[in-house]
């Protein structure tokens, strides 16, 4: 008995979390899938009605915009935030005297709720109030920075604010990674006279592969979840130019009383995300196993 217990301790430790995830993630996805085939409106109903919700979804021009925005926003946000986070971490790792203060400055945006920060960003980006007005006030009359009010560019203001909010955390991840790199190897490399930048590109960064994985997952999670940000900064506007699947889904489920439609949009969104994320995770985890 004790022997069995000893052998199976790892499985027993993992079991509760695994069961919880099965029910509260996969069970709920299955529930959503079911609802997406119904005519649920204000509250869930369980009578299957076919693919009507998906037909409605693909007939909606607003959903097209939202899905497109997810690609644009997700790609730019993840890539830029990851690069910026890595650069900041490397810069901070150079025995900077004010590291503590700078690290807090880079990290603090995560602490603030977007409900209000969105208002501050809205003012900064508003051509009549913020940066544009300020630079013009300095005498550069032609200076234009009107992304916020331009339907074609507004999505990039969301990218900007999202990077501002999250890149600090990515920096923290990389900083923790940089500091767990084996010091002996680096010393050996330094003794061999290898230049610093080569030590980074050839030794340190490749050894942080798991950190990149964490950063990628954190950022994709944030990209999918970006909801407060859009609501506070643009409210999905101008028009619905900055709508994302998450805001679309929320609007359908909670302000329009169209839960079936929300469920179908959630399913499509999850399929898209999984189609991109699963191959990446698969390759990452496989190489780790070997």
């Amino acid at each position: 008995m004790t022997k069995w217990l000893e052998q199976n301790t790892p499985k027993l430790v993992l079991a509760p979390s695994f069961i919880a995830v099965l029910i509260f993630v996969y069970g709920f996805i299955a529930w959503t899938a079911w609802i997406s085939f119904t005519r649920s409106r204000l509250l869930p109903r369980y009578d299957i009605e076919g693919v009507i919700q998906y037909e409605r979804l693909f007939a909606s021009p607003r959903w097209d915009t939202a899905l497109n925005n997810l690609f644009v926003f997700g790609f730019l946000f993840i890539v830029i935030a990851m690069v910026l986070g890595l650069v900041l971490a490397i810069l901070l790792d150079q025995n900077i005297r004010t590291e503590g203060a700078l690290r807090t400055i880079y990290l603090y945006p995560m602490a603030l709720s977007m409900i209000v920060t969105g208002t501050a960003w809205k003012w900064i980006l508003n051509p009549g109030l913020g940066i544009q007005a300020m630079v013009r006030g300095w005498g550069f009359e032609e200076f234009t920075f009107d992304w916020l009010v331009n339907p074609d560019m507004a999505i990039y203001t969301i990218v900007l604010a999202a990077i501002w909010q999250s890149s600090g955390f990515v920096m923290a991840l990389f900083l923790a990674g940089l500091r767990s790199v084996d010091g002996e190897i680096i010393k050996a490399a330094q003794v061999d006279g290898i230049p610093t930048w080569r030590i980074y590109t050839a030794i340190i960064i490749p050894s942080m592969a798991p950190i990149f994985l964490s950063a990628f997952i954190v950022l994709s999670h944030l990209a999918i979840k970006s909801f407060d940000l859009v609501i506070a900064l643009t409210g999905g506007g101008p028009g619905y130019a900055t709508d994302l699947p998450a805001t679309y889904m929320y609007a359908m489920a909670f302000s329009r009383g169209d839960i079936g439609q929300a469920a179908s949009s959630a399913m499509i969104m999850m399929m898209v995300v999984f189609a991109i994320v699963v191959p990446y995770l698969y390759s990452e985890l496989r190489t780790k196993d070997e």
């Binding site: 430790v13 995830v21 501050a120 500091r179 999984f274």
Partner: protein
């Protein structure tokens, strides 16, 4: 230890190094300005009177500095019928965040330890399934979760909210610890087993003491997510268990009332203070983690 500093600077390229150093500080300073810009707007606005905001430039320095907005935000702003500011809601958030962060971090550490060091058949599949769970949009889980909480009898309670946060934090905490622990050589575990140490013994006396930097990262992440959560807080609370974000939202988001931007901004900064506090304190432990890490090397 990535101590790539200027210790090796030799005579001839010392000037170059000093210039590089200045460029480095300049770059860091410029980034700092970018990150501080919205905070500047928020702080200056919170120090203005409402009349000044109404008539003046929104992102100018205040003409007359007043702390009234801060007082109102803390203890006088209306969040409903009660006009007691965000103060009464702080306690709820603390009661939710601290246990939820502690439980999810501990579970994540154990899970990560199993997946990284005690591989069994199927462990990787389980880990992948948990990871994919990170990508579920929270809007999707609101309704079925509400039903489950009702069945479990913890709807609208603080334990209910803790439960929800732990469940949806597990994927991340497990991921963080797993990725940290895979870089620790498995020989360590093997040697300890030969010495007769068991599963928990090895965890407590070998892995946990090595984990400070990643615990800091995990706590920062979890605390931020849970403290700033609005969606779960608003859906799974009832009168008396609403967290501070709901109160903040109630102050800020009035549709047809007069908007008091100065109070909004002050309330937002006050609501963020605990997270900021965690960052400052946790930042210190980053450095400690570094020193602790050097022992292992």
């Amino acid at each position: 230890m990535s101590d790539l500093s200027m210790s090796q600077a030799t005579g001839q390229n010392r000037t170059g190094k000093i210039i590089l150093r200045w460029v480095l500080y300049l770059a860091l300073g410029l980034f700092a300005l970018f990150y501080l810009m919205p905070l500047f707007v928020m702080i200056t606005t919170s120090l203005k009177s409402l009349d000044e905001i109404r008539t003046g430039d929104l992102i100018a320095l205040p003409r007359d500095v007043t702390l009234d907005a801060w007082r109102t935000a803390w203890s006088g702003a209306c969040t409903g019928i009660q006009c007691e500011g965000v103060r009464p809601y702080f306690w709820n958030s603390i009661l939710i965040a601290i246990p939820a962060v502690a439980i999810s971090t501990l579970l994540g550490a154990m899970n990560g330890y199993v997946v990284a060091q005690w591989q069994f058949r199927g462990a990787n599949i389980i880990f992948s399934l948990m990871l994919f769970g990170c990508f579920i949009p929270f809007q999707v889980v609101l309704l079925p979760m509400a039903r489950m909480l009702g069945i479990m009898g913890i709807a609208g309670t603080i334990p209910g909210l803790i439960f929800v946060h732990v469940i949806y934090g597990l994927g991340f905490t497990t991921l963080f610890f797993r990725n940290y622990y895979v870089s620790i050589p498995s020989e360590l575990t093997k040697a300890a087993k030969v010495d007769g140490a068991g599963f928990f013994r090895i965890f407590w006396s070998i892995f946990l003491p090595l984990s400070l930097p990643i615990i800091v990262v995990t706590v920062i992440w979890q605390f931020t997510q849970i403290w700033n959560d609005f969606l779960f807080g608003v859906s799974f609370s009832q009168a008396g268990t609403q967290p501070v974000t709901v109160a903040l939202n109630n102050i800020v988001n009035s549709t047809t009332g007069v908007k008091e931007y100065n109070v909004d901004m002050a309330a937002a900064i006050i609501a963020a203070l605990p997270t900021l506090f965690v960052y400052v304190v946790a930042g210190k432990y980053f450095i400690r983690g570094l020193t602790a890490g050097s022992v292992k090397g």
